[in-house]
Symmetry: C2
Subunit: 202 residues, 2 copies
DNA sequence: TCGATACGCAACGGTCGCGTTTCATAATAT
DNA sequence: ATATTATGAAACGCGACCGTTGCGTATCGA
């Protein structure tokens, strides 16, 4: 067998699909979603136009919008902040600061909105988002908490699930219902300090 | 002047507008929103059809969709739970239980979603919702907290804004990301007890 | 070179909702 | 009675997208 085959699957004959087009499509989709469109308002034609691509090229890859959006969300790399500070408090502050700074970017904000509000109508999309964006962060957060419980910075009987919900939920609540600029500049620290008051031993 | 006039404004000649139709329209709009449609997916035709009403009847009263939705939201009466329990803890638990029970109803849930996610695209709608549904609740909650600070159940230097965000945000976070049935049955109590640990004096 | 496949583009017929108009009918004031 | 306004129904022309098809061109393997 003389055929050299770098990959396992046999390359099909003909012109290969353009990877560039694929990127452009996904980027365009995220871009439009980031402007506040819901999933159902997101039109294939708009994506094609913005990506500089024919509709055919889209339909050849995804049979429906949801699949496209799912893949688009999957392409988002979760920027996990490195959490190896001196103390639990430092790590938590760092974490919440990252969360807050992300919530200011319109694009992040809109995509977050989509995930939160369209979980009923587009469960697969919401599930994917949860997998991509929420879970890894929660895992990092959980690691911090458990480290704290191990070294005595936090109560040994702390309900970690609850503690994480307090931190994330409080930040979300405040960033949701306040305009970005009338939030206290030290919001993250204040949340952490207030929460830690109940998390510390005794 | 023989004209009897119950109201100040002179009743215009001709057939009066049907109050029943108006109610039906608003109810239909809320109904559709409660099924998960966003504001932009909400179509006048669908509202008219469900309300059993001609489109004319809608356009005669509202010149655009947003106005209609704003009025529809305004018609929602905020069911303020009476909070005059024996203790701050009791009141907070009652409050959060109400919040949770509401978050289970699909309709409430969807309308909440709309308010939260479409604040960029439909600011007037979001603002109205905040006025109708959030503010009164927050006021009731604030009253409880201040009562607690006055009688010593809570720290005198408690950051009330932060404390309220902790309670509401935590409940929202947990009800958002969990399916309704794998939440602990005593969720409200657990949130309150965890939070109060940091709210109590010393 | 040749067959196969992908590309961007334009056009297709079809659906949906828009906001407006027309119509016959109903409800009210004088 | 008559004038006036509202009502539900239907139809209008318009534009946005749908998902598909055909076109000429580009890019691959054989």
């Amino acid at each position: 067998m003389t055929m050299q085959q770098t990959e396992g699957a046999a390359r099909p004959a003909g012109r290969p699909r353009s990877e560039k087009a694929e990127k452009a499509i996904i980027e365009a989709a995220l871009d439009i979603l980031g402007e506040g469109s819901g999933v159902s308002e997101l039109s294939i034609e708009a994506i094609a136009a913005r990506a500089g691509v024919g509709k055919t090229t889209i339909y050849r890859r995804w049979s429906n919008k949801e699949d496209l959006v799912v893949d688009a969300l999957a392409s988002l790399k979760p920027p996990i902040p490195p959490l190896k500070g001196a103390s639990v408090r430092d790590d938590l502050v760092t974490y919440l600061q990252v969360v807050q700074s992300e919530s200011i970017h319109v694009r992040t904000r809109c995509i977050m909105n989509i995930a939160m509000s369209q979980s009923d109508r587009h469960p697969r999309v919401a599930e994917r988002f949860h997998e991509i964006a929420i879970k890894p962060r929660q895992a990092a957060l959980r690691a911090v908490m458990e480290r704290g419980m191990a070294n005595g910075e936090l109560r040994a009987d702390l309900d970690v699930e609850m503690a994480m919900a307090i931190l994330s939920g409080t930040m979300m609540w405040r960033t949701k219902w306040s305009s970005d600029d009338d939030l206290p500049p030290d919001l993250a620290e204040r949340i952490v300090d207030e929460a830690l008051r109940g998390f510390r031993p005794r």
